[in-house]
């Protein structure tokens, strides 16, 4: 296994050109904190962006920064925090899930469209990503988007790259818009609600004017004996106080809300963000499922009636994290999940699972034939020789 670690865009370009002329597939990664995701890729050579590091533009007064793809997320966050700003989409850190170390990179956050609990109010990583520079599979350096937050010039390849997991191009530099960091935050907790009741409460919270920035439900047994329904609120001091009081009153039909203060609340949401409650045991497969919030409870009830699982809800019930033992359920529930999703709408990605499982089932949600055809053709326009993460997402893609 040889490693390529370009230190400049020019070097990245020449390495890709070399790989192209040798027809050498490249396994593209940042610092590898998410190794364990994806279909199993056959490739001898790893290309890591770890040496492409550093913030290249920081303009707090314009709410924007650019960084080379291998810049650690922690470096970005620290630089933004100095100016009271933050990544609004609260990117998940996958190290707990995969048991990896090193530093997650900002390029991988872009490439994987990686968001967290704030996604329900602030949009996904792709909504904040406003510009990319990348090298395509022909060794061409391409830019799309830019550093200004309103830009509709030409086709939006930024969105295509975000969530393509390195299969279309190797990002060399990314530009995000940011927002002021919430000054204070706290959480309201409702206890002992059944899933359907809990999600009704979350949806009700999201319908209110108090701008909930997190809406999650941990069923009983995941984090203590009681089910916890959690709603995070933010604001400056008096604003937060007002929102907490109003929200508790507004949701009084769901019981009496307990307040979880700032520090404890932050730890709690970090756990939810990182799928902490399902990180152990490490040999269980973990699914990330996206459905309409109102469908979440019923969907899970149906799946759990035939499968032995542990799960929790984020995004107002629309994001379901599911852990399942592949020893008990040989396909980790894949066919049942996807059959249910065909009725419900939505998709399921196997985020963690043993390599052999990932070679047997579709890791990314199977797409209709017409969409799959488009997917393959798009891949072909960026990477005609299929040298970037071949087969990482789908067969040939």
């Amino acid at each position: 296994m040889s490693d390529l670690t370009p230190a400049s865009e020019a070097e990245l370009v020449s390495m890709v050109q070399q790989a192209m002329s040798d027809a050498t597939p490249l396994f593209v990664r940042g610092n590898g904190t998410r190794s364990g995701l994806g279909r199993t890729v056959q490739s001898a050579t790893t290309l890591s962006t770890s040496n492409l590091s550093g913030i290249t533009l920081l303009e707090p007064a314009e709410m924007v920064f650019s960084a080379k793809a291998g810049t650690p997320v922690s470096v970005v966050e620290a630089a933004l925090a100095e100016h009271g700003q933050a990544l609004t989409f609260e990117p998940m850190d996958h190290r707990r899930l995969y048991g990896t170390d090193k530093e997650p990179t900002i390029g991988a956050v872009a490439a994987g469209n990686i968001s967290g609990p704030r996604r329900i109010i602030s949009g996904a990583a792709r909504d904040s990503l406003i510009g990319v520079r990348f090298v395509n599979g022909k060794g061409e350096l391409i830019k799309n988007g830019g550093r200004v937050m309103k830009n509709v010039t030409g086709l939006d390849l930024v969105k295509l790259l975000s969530g393509s997991w390195g299969t279309l191009g190797i990002l060399s530099e990314v530009t995000f818009k940011v927002l002021p960091k919430p000054i204070h935050s706290a959480t309201l907790q409702f206890s002992n609600l059944a899933d359907d009741k809990a999600i009704a409460a979350l949806c009700e919270a999201m319908k209110s004017q108090f701008e909930a920035s997190g809406a999650a439900h941990l069923p009983a047994g995941l984090d203590g004996d009681q089910a916890k329904t959690l709603i995070r609120l933010e604001g400056f001091e008096t604003q937060l106080r007002y929102r907490l009081d109003q929200m508790a009153k507004y949701l009084s039909e769901f019981g009496k809300a307990e307040e979880i203060a700032e520090a404890e609340s932050a730890v709690l949401w970090q756990g939810i963000r990182d799928c902490g409650p399902l990180a152990e045991p490490t040999d269980h497969a973990v699914w990330k499922i996206s459905v309409a919030p109102t469908k979440g409870a019923d969907f899970m009830a149906r799946f759990a009636s035939t499968h032995d699982t542990r799960y929790f809800f984020d995004w107002s019930g629309g994001l379901i994290w599911v852990a399942i033992d592949p020893q008990t359920h040989a396909d980790a529930g894949a066919s049942a999940l996807r059959k249910l999703l065909a009725e419900t709408g939505g998709h399921a990605t196997l985020m963690r699972g043993p390599a052999d499982l990932r070679s047997r089932i579709e890791v990314f949600h199977p797409q209709p034939a017409a969409v799959m055809r488009i997917t393959s053709q798009i891949k072909n326009t960026f990477d005609p020789q299929n040298i970037f993460n071949p087969g990482f997402m789908y067969s040939g893609v």
């Binding site: 007064a61 010039t153 939006d156 295509l160 009704a200 008096t238 604003q239 007002y242 939505g346």
Partner: protein
């Protein structure tokens, strides 16, 4: 005549006109096909009125199936297709060509479903932007992207252009408020992309479709995000003696960690034009005006405003005027949102749409004045100051060919300037034909080729809105699917 080329029509297609119209009538019966020359005239242009071409025919389908049948037919017959919403594009995105069929979705304008718990509305794409908000308004919800043309423009057109509005500083533009579309491809295949759930299972095709200017497929339905209305909203007017101090005030507000929902800028000429039209109570003795809107509870608005006023004072604000009633607030926004229409009553204009890094505002304002002075033209500036999206309105007389040329040249110089300072050609109006020939100012050949290759996956032979977005020379075709 202006200098933007529209390809010569294919004589072969023109010769088949009658046969094509008859075939279309079989697919969409009754009044769904327009072919009478006088009835075609309203479709000859959009809001980029300096260019006009009467299309071969206009089809106004009522169902996705009809759209699919018509596209399939046009694909086979080799007839170009121009997708159209309300035709309010300012960049010529919906301008037809003589050998093309316009497919308009205006008759598909129903709300199909509203789900407040999911905060989603499923609508037919021909519904107007404002009708979405009006539909959910009585229940305390709204659809956030609010182009000034929202009374007329359609969700289809908004998706086509990835439109913005005055409030996108907080709420984002169309692409950030779109969850799903039903889209018909040129070969008649109907795709359902996204839905009431979040994020894409594979590649983000929804993100690709949004802003694709009718070049990828025809959108017939959309799932959009609806949001609860804030408890209150209050626009406040801040008048400054120089444009520079207004610009610096905007930067300071953002740097202080305040993000008002809207920060709109108007210069003196724009203030005069809008005040004459809307009687909004704008101060007339200032060189620049900011409309800053805050929202939330009364206490929240007070606190935010307090901080903003303090910053404005530091930048020498001359007048501050808070709206005292809902009526006054409405008048303030009416003035701003009718800026283009009101300008249109004074003179012909072309509306630029470049975006710049906001830090460059003072420099760009000064340079723009030099540019328009050089051409001897007047310019009225209105723009979304918080995000650097400029709308200089260059005034000219459309019946004076020399002046029209000057206006186009000045516009090109301004957009080139926007790119030079790190911005882009278009922030929300789209490339259309207007900025097509400037694309090489912003992109390299490789950049453009990659975009065109992706485009060609959907339309290998350039039949969908073909004269738009990409320079006419050097186009890349795809392999037929």
């Amino acid at each position: 005549m202006g200098t933007i080329a529209i390809p010569e029509p294919n004589m072969d297609i023109l010769a088949r006109r009658q046969e094509i119209v008859q075939d279309l009538q079989k697919l969409v019966s009754g009044e769904g096909v327009i072919s009478d020359p006088t009835e075609l005239v309203p479709y000859e242009t959009d809001a980029f009125t300096a260019y006009r071409r009467v299309p071969l025919a206009v089809v106004l389908p009522q169902t996705t199936e009809q759209v699919a049948a018509v596209l399939k037919y046009c694909n086979k017959a080799g007839v170009p297709v121009i997708p159209r919403g309300a035709g309010t594009s300012l960049s010529g995105g919906a301008i037809p060509q003589e050998d093309a069929i316009v497919i308009g979705v205006a008759k598909m304008s129903r709300v199909l479903d509203v789900n407040y718990s999911n905060r989603t509305a499923t609508v037919q794409a021909g519904i107007t932007n404002l009708n979405v908000s009006d539909h959910v308004g009585p229940d305390g919800f709204f659809y956030a992207p609010d182009p000034s043309s929202q009374l007329a423009c359609t969700i289809a057109g908004n998706i086509g252009m990835n439109s913005g509005g005055a409030h996108c500083l907080k709420y984002g533009v169309t692409t950030n408020n779109l969850l799903g579309v039903k889209m018909v491809m040129l070969d008649g295949t109907v795709l359902d992309i996204g839905g009431e759930h979040l994020d894409a299972p594979g590649y983000d095709l929804l993100g690709l479709v949004c802003g694709s200017e009718g070049q990828i497929g025809i959108i017939t339905e959309a799932v959009v995000r609806i949001l609860p209305k804030p408890e209150g909203a209050r626009p406040v007017l801040f008048g400054f003696e120089t444009a520079e101090s207004a610009g610096e005030c905007v930067a300071s507000i953002i740097a202080a960690g305040l993000v008002p929902v809207a920060m709109e800028f108007m210069d003196k000429l724009a203030i005069e034009i809008c005040e004459a039209f809307a009687k909004a109570g704008y101060p007339m003795d200032v060189a620049a005006l900011l409309i800053i809107e805050v929202e939330g509870s009364e206490a929240e608005m007070r606190e935010q405003l307090g901080k903003i006023i303090e910053i404005a004072r530091r930048h020498g604000v001359k007048t501050i005027k808070e709206s005292q009633s809902a009526m006054e607030a409405a008048a303030i926004w009416k003035g701003r949102k009718s800026a283009f229409g009101a300008t249109g009553r004074v003179a012909d204009y072309i509306c630029m749409d470049g975006t710049i890094p906001t830090g460059q505002l003072p420099y760009v304002l000064a340079r723009m004045a030099q540019i328009t002075d050089h051409y001897g033209l007047r310019v009225a500036n209105v723009f979304h100051a918080g995000d650097g999206n400029l709308h200089p309105l260059i005034l000219y007389d459309v019946n004076d060919p020399a002046e029209r040329q000057k206006a186009e040249d000045a516009g090109n110089d301004i957009l080139t300037l926007c790119v030079e300072v790190g911005g882009c050609l278009t922030g929300e109006h789209g490339v259309g034909i207007e900025k097509r020939d400037l694309m090489r100012v912003q992109f390299t050949e490789e950049d453009l080729r990659q975009q065109m290759l992706v485009r060609a996956v959907f339309d290998p032979a350039w039949q969908l809105n073909p004269a738009k977005v990409f320079p006419l020379d050097g186009r890349v075709s795809g392999q037929a699917a």
